[in-house]
């Protein structure tokens, strides 16, 4: 297995490994080490099936259930397995049609074009996310921003200011930013804000990073407009071009990132005409529970 630096200290390309097959513990350790050293790893030319993606993902911890799947009615879902995220523009199980312009699922998914950290709206956010490309449009890059480098680039005064800030995250807040609020009934508990520290320390590397996300809607103890203006400014700082990597997808690419140290976003494509079919799996973010408990007090 070989990891080549694509973007210094942030993105690595992994070759010389077949992740469709069961991995040795040495290979798993090598990938985890790579994830700590970088924060995004790309694995080109991996023709994974859904089962193989789930098996590969399980090497790194407990799989998460996707919120979109959880909140959708069964007939709206393409995959009945809730650990498999449908990152496509198909009309649910009907893959002969694309979602219509005003389709609720399409509106919901548009917010993925805001910078976010996956599942930061959960009491324990996601650790790794793994995204596999099956069918691609002409161009629809995914962008990644390095929240460790963004933290390091703050001035000492800014670091002191953010150190003890606790933010409130909810899926409602990110969707509200683009004027979407049409959720199926019965999911109120999924929409309730959860607290997270703004500055988190990676459990393995000890590096600090900004735990930013479009799901943030408030800062504990701050007036809401002041909190939102502050988070906007900080997000702008954290997503400057020098912290960002744009992944140009090829079919068979598997990209894996650590949501504790990376924000990401999708970019626009002609989704009413072109198919984009990616499959997502993710791992619960272990190692942050203590910090979260402190934040909740």
């Amino acid at each position: 297995m070989n990891i080549r630096a694509v973007q210094n200290g942030f993105v690595g390309e992994v070759t010389g490994i077949d992740i469709c097959k069961p991995l040795t513990s040495g290979e798993v350790a090598g990938i985890e080490l790579g994830m700590d050293q970088y924060a995004v790893l790309t694995f080109p030319d991996q023709p994974l099936t859904d089962e193989q993606q789930v098996t590969f993902t399980a090497n790194f911890g407990e799989l998460e259930i996707t919120l979109a799947g959880q909140m959708a009615k069964p007939e709206e879902r393409r995959f009945q397995q809730l650990e498999l995220g449908d990152i496509s523009n198909y009309n649910g199980a009907d893959t002969t049609r694309l979602r219509a312009r005003d389709d609720k699922r399409r509106m919901y998914a548009l917010a993925n074009r805001l910078w976010h950290s996956d599942a930061s709206f959960r009491a324990i956010g996601a650790g790794y996310t793994l995204l596999h490309a099956r069918i691609l449009p002409r161009k629809a890059d995914t962008q990644f921003a390095d929240m460790r480098a963004a933290y390091d680039a703050l001035s000492p005064m800014e670091k002191a200011e953010v150190e003890d800030i606790v933010c409130e995250h909810s899926i409602v807040f990110s969707r509200e930013q683009i004027g979407f609020g049409d959720y199926n009934a019965g999911h109120e508990e999924h929409l309730k804000p959860v607290p997270h520290r703004l500055v988190i320390t990676h459990p393995k590397t000890g590096r600090k990073s900004l735990y930013l996300s479009s799901h943030i809607g408030g800062i504990v103890g701050w007036p809401v407009p002041e909190a939102r203006a502050f988070i906007r400014d900080l997000t702008e700082h954290a997503t400057q071009p020098q912290f960002v990597y744009s992944h140009v997808w090829r079919v068979g690419d598997m990209v894996m990132w650590d949501n504790r140290t990376v924000m990401h976003r999708a970019t626009r494509f002609d989704d009413l005409k072109e198919v984009r079919d990616l499959r997502r799996t993710s791992i619960k973010g272990v190692g942050l529970e203590v910090k979260h408990a402190m934040a909740a007090e």
């Binding site: 509106m107 074009r113 930013q177 004027g179 007036p223 809401v224 407009p225 400014d233």
Partner: protein, 301 residues
């Protein structure tokens, strides 16, 4: 003395203007020279202009009719620090001249100025020039940034230019405030009608220079004919394009600086400062534009 203008950016956007005392009556030629400078630079910065409210209004009237400040319009007389309705109070002071408290409603709505916007784009006839006088500046922070919407338009690819050419957007003060969680209902019942969205072209054609510009603003909440989330996401992406550093001039204020900008061809925003401890007292006058950019929805009878 003639007007001498030095460009402040490599692209030639924003100019520092020397040679005029704007607090004294101007000749027609001097006004013409400033208008020509505005067409070329979009933003003109003057230093050491010791305005009071009367002289600022008198100078501003050289360029057209003054708008009534929307802040003044939407507040009660006893809450206004400045007597003249044409003077927009861009400060962190209350009617007694004291710093506003952290939870003050006026402070929270003013935070919306930290979003990129074009002044009064929420009016059917939107603003032409804004003129801002720095009476008291904070110790640090509080810069104003300006972005060139003509260069931002020019830098779009042809497909995007074609896509946006005829788009019509809807603007309201409520949309910009909603983005930071300041709710429409908090404007009070008496102001709800003033928050009714107005329509504008997204691409403006500047008749004096022949150039096109992106008429973007945080006040945009919709595109006519588009689903709202798609419109907002599109406007966010376009705004991100339009405020890249290469299109931006950032101004560090000194007391008595005076800046004129053209809202038809630029966006601007305020940056953060220690507003709970430092005074920032700026006064703005605003010139009403020539007309609507697109037909408005007729009011139901």
């Amino acid at each position: 003395m003639s007007l001498s203008i030095r460009p402040l950016t490599l692209s030639g956007f924003a100019g520092e203007a020397l040679g005029f005392d704007l607090t004294r009556p101007l000749t027609r030629d001097q006004v013409t020279a400033i208008d020509a400078g505005m067409d070329q630079y979009g933003v003109l910065i003057f230093h050491d202009q010791h305005f009071d409210d009367e002289t600022q209004m008198a100078f501003s009237r050289n360029f057209g009719e003054l708008e009534v400040s929307s802040g003044a319009e939407m507040s009660k007389a006893q809450d206004r620090r400045l007597k003249q309705m044409e003077m927009a109070d861009i400060s962190n002071l209350d009617v007694q001249g004291k710093l506003r408290a952290a939870s003050d409603r006026m402070r929270l709505t003013a935070l919306g100025n930290r979003l990129w916007h074009s002044d009064a784009s929420f009016r059917a006839i939107p603003a032409k020039y804004s003129l801002l006088s720095a009476r008291t500046v904070p110790g640090t922070g509080g810069n104003t940034e300006f972005a060139d919407m003509r260069d931002a338009y020019d830098a779009l690819d042809d497909a995007t230019k074609t896509e946006i050419e005829d788009l019509v957007t809807e603007h309201s003060n409520a949309f910009s405030r909603e983005q930071i969680g300041f709710l429409k209902v908090d404007y009070g019942e008496e102001n709800q009608l003033k928050l009714k969205p107005v329509r504008h072209r997204l691409v403006r054609h500047d008749t004096s220079t022949g150039r096109k510009s992106l008429y973007l603003s945080a006040h945009i909440g919709a595109i006519v004919g588009w689903p709202v989330p798609e419109a907002r996401m599109f406007i966010r992406d376009l705004t991100e394009h339009a405020v890249q550093r290469r299109f931006v001039y950032s101004h560090v204020w000194r007391q008595w600086d005076f800046i004129i900008w053209d809202n038809r061809t630029t966006m601007h925003r305020a940056r953060r400062y220690n507003d709970l401890t430092d005074v920032r007292d700026m006064r703005r006058t605003t010139i009403r534009g020539d007309g609507v950019t697109v037909a408005q929805i007729q009011q139901a009878a």
